[in-house]
């Protein structure tokens, strides 16, 4: 091979290597372009992610919607280089029209900023009008050379760019954020893509604010209910005490009214003065008749005594009323409790209403459940809440109402157990004969009641107090006992407890005992039921009411 051929081959070799080098350079350039594209994409995605994260953080932390909007607008203006950020909201007079909120972000010293602010004063953007109006209709916008309804604004934005998006609350547009610059800006697909989630995040700030206002209103209403209920309880307490005092005074008067002619007649009888005896007995008869009339009238409208009601019905009524007040109340009544009787519906209502109100006060959305079952001669109402622990001061009111009714208020996890004494007709004691023991320290009552019972075909024995009653019961088997409450030596309540404890003999432990009382003090009826009374007869009573109550416990003639 001569030199020329070698040279030729060397040139070819160099040419080949140069072409390979060019290909390698090309490959490197292409690699760099791919790398740059990837980096640019990574940067814009990262920036978008940052903005979304910060928007979420601001929205979650904000208590004030305007502050959240301002923060987010500031972020977009700073990070995405806009000259002006502006917030519009629905006009008060027309929700279909957007107006400026007066909230702007930008530099005061920037003439474009101040010119846009001035040009926007008083503007009203209806659906499709201007960029804000087009957001209402079409969603997020990125517009170059945007047209506007205001010539002044349009002149400022000619050759510029506007980006705007809406804030949605329950699928309704409530605000628009717009960003402006006087120069053309290439579309930023990441920012446009972010507009919808940012609008949703900001919408949640408004939703939370509304929810807080609703909760506050609900709380105020509940507090009002509790205050009202507490006041009702106190009034009822005062009323009952006043009534008890009045009845006691009336009873003393009645006793005096009857005792006087009776004593006069007895004295006249000793002297053989039959005229006076007749006139005094006539006077006595007139007074008894007058009193019986008054008693009959009172009995028809006796609102002061305990109101007996079927337990299941009472609880059902209370729960239904509560449902209409503030949401679902689940009620489960144990079958054994379905037909039992609870004393004093009013007090049950006060306690249960107050407990439920206290639970709702602590957590307005709490689901309430009430389960009723019986334990001996007590009803247990398990009241449970799915929410936070009930309001303590309300629970205190409920607890007081329950303890006045001789019940128990037991706090347990997730709620409260209300335990109340009940009368259980199906467990009613039945007398074995038609002989009655009448226990009363007042002669007038002894005589009146004896006459009425004898008129009903019943035999009657008398006892002047609890001790005598226990003695009689040990000696004789009675069909039923009529027991006064207030008596010297041993009162009716204690005597009844002792009878039930077997102190009058095992045969008398289950004898029907009917309380005769003018008591209407809070808790008196419940205390009686707990002590072992089977029924109540409120003084003054008529012959009919006496025989009806007693008859329920005696065998037929």
């Amino acid at each position: 091979m001569d030199l020329n051929e070698e040279l030729q081959q060397a040139y070819e070799r160099i040419g080949r290597l140069e072409r390979r080098l060019d290909r390698e350079k090309g490959a490197r350039r292409e690699s760099e372009e791919v790398a740059e594209r990837s980096l640019r994409r990574l940067y814009t995605r990262q920036r978008a992610l940052d903005l979304l994260t910060r928007t979420a953080a601001v929205s979650n932390a904000a208590r004030d919607a305007d502050a959240a909007f301002t923060s987010v607008m500031q972020m977009i203006v700073d990070d995405y280089e806009w000259r002006v950020g502006h917030l519009l909201t629905a006009a008060r007079d027309d929700p279909e029209v957007l107006v400026s909120t007066g909230i702007w972000v930008g530099r005061e010293s920037d003439s474009f900023f101040s010119d846009v602010c001035n040009a926007t004063i008083g503007a009203r953007f209806g659906p499709g009008v201007g960029v804000p109006g087009r957001v209402m209709v079409h969603g997020p916008r990125w517009e170059l050379q945007p047209s506007d309804l205001l010539p002044a604004r349009e002149a400022l934005l000619r050759g510029g760019t506007v980006f705007a998006f809406g804030v949605m609350v329950e699928a309704r547009l409530v605000a628009v954020l717009e960003f402006m610059t006087p120069v053309p800006k290439p579309r930023d697909p990441d920012l446009i893509e972010l507009a919808t989630p940012m609008g949703e995040q900001l919408g949640r700030v408004i939703e939370r604010k509304r929810a807080r206002e609703d909760a506050e209103r609900h709380r105020t209403e509940l507090e009002g209910t509790v205050r009202e209920r507490t006041s009702d309880l106190l009034k009822a307490h005062d009323r009952a005490e006043a009534l008890a005092r009045a009845r006691s005074a009336l009873f003393n008067t009645v006793t005096h009214e009857l005792a006087t002619p009776l004593h006069n007649a007895l004295a006249a009888l000793d002297n053989g003065d039959t005229t006076t005896v007749r006139s005094q007995l006539g006077l006595l008869k007139d007074r008894v008749d007058a009193l019986l009339n008054v008693a009959a009238e009172n009995g028809q409208d006796d609102a002061g005594g305990p109101q007996m009601c079927v337990l299941a019905d009472a609880v059902h009524q209370i729960c239904t009323a509560q449902e209409s007040l503030g949401g679902p109340v689940t009620l489960a009544v144990d079958p054994t409790a379905a037909e039992e009787v609870l004393i004093d519906t009013g007090r049950l209502r006060s306690a249960l209403d107050t407990v439920i109100a206290g639970m709702r006060l602590a957590d307005p959305s709490a689901a309430i459940s009430v389960r009723v079952h019986l334990a001996g001669r007590e009803a247990v109402l398990e009241v449970r809440s799915s929410g936070h622990a009930a309001d303590p001061s309300t629970m205190e009111v409920a607890s007081r109402a329950i303890s006045e009714a001789h019940g128990r208020f037991i706090e347990s996890s997730g709620g409260v157990d209300l335990v109340l004494p009940v009368s259980r007709p199906r467990l009613r004691r039945q007398g074995t004969n038609r002989r009655i023991l009448l226990v009363d320290d007042t002669k007038v009552t002894q005589q009146l009641a004896s006459m009425m019972l004898a008129g009903g075909g019943l035999e009657v024995d008398l006892a002047g107090d609890g001790i005598e009653a226990l003695e009689r019961l040990r000696e004789t088997q009675y069909g039923a006992v009529l027991m006064d409450i207030r008596m010297p030596r041993l009162d009716g309540l204690t005597a009844t407890q002792q009878v039930r404890a077997g102190e009058a003999g095992p045969n008398s432990a289950d004898i029907p005992i009917i309380a005769m009382t003018a008591e209407a003090a809070p808790g008196a009826a419940e205390a009686g039921l707990l002590a072992g009374f089977d029924a109540y007869l409120t003084k003054p009573f008529t012959k009919d009411s006496l025989l009806t109550v007693v008859g329920r416990f005696l065998p037929a003639e």
Partner: protein
Amino acid sequence: MKGIIFNLIEEVISQDYGADAWDDLLEGTPVSGTYSAVATYPDSELGAIVDSAAAMTGLTPGQLLRYMGRRSLPLMAARYPEFFTMHTGARTFLLSLNEVIHPEVRKLYEGAQPPHFGFEEQSDGTMVMEYHSHRALCSLAEGLVMGAADLFGETVTITQPQCKLDGYGFCTLRVTWT
């Protein structure tokens, strides 16, 4: 087609036929000839290079693709060892293609469209692989499977009961370990 495939073919040809052979091949083929691993190039360029290389080596295009696949797999294993060292045999490696290897390919090569495989393991140990791809490069896939078996010191025979080029909806590869 991603540039990495062109790079692998270049590497095989340069190793087996010398660096000048690749230059000659490119200069005799109507292609740009500039291939960056991460960039994307028209599928037609791969077809043109395969045709030229087949003519140069005296193989059919199918044989050439099988050869390229089998030879390039060890090169891939050298470049991305972490996807191979976790396996002790070709079978589990192949089964990991859809869930492990191809997601990684998509991460590294933006816009990559790797094929999808269906697997049916039969009681005699045979594995039937369905090859789903708009490119119909089943021969390259077959070569890669052979290469995987080589890498793990196994021997396989592969038949192709059906091929997209014959009008089927997808290609199947029947892999039998011997």
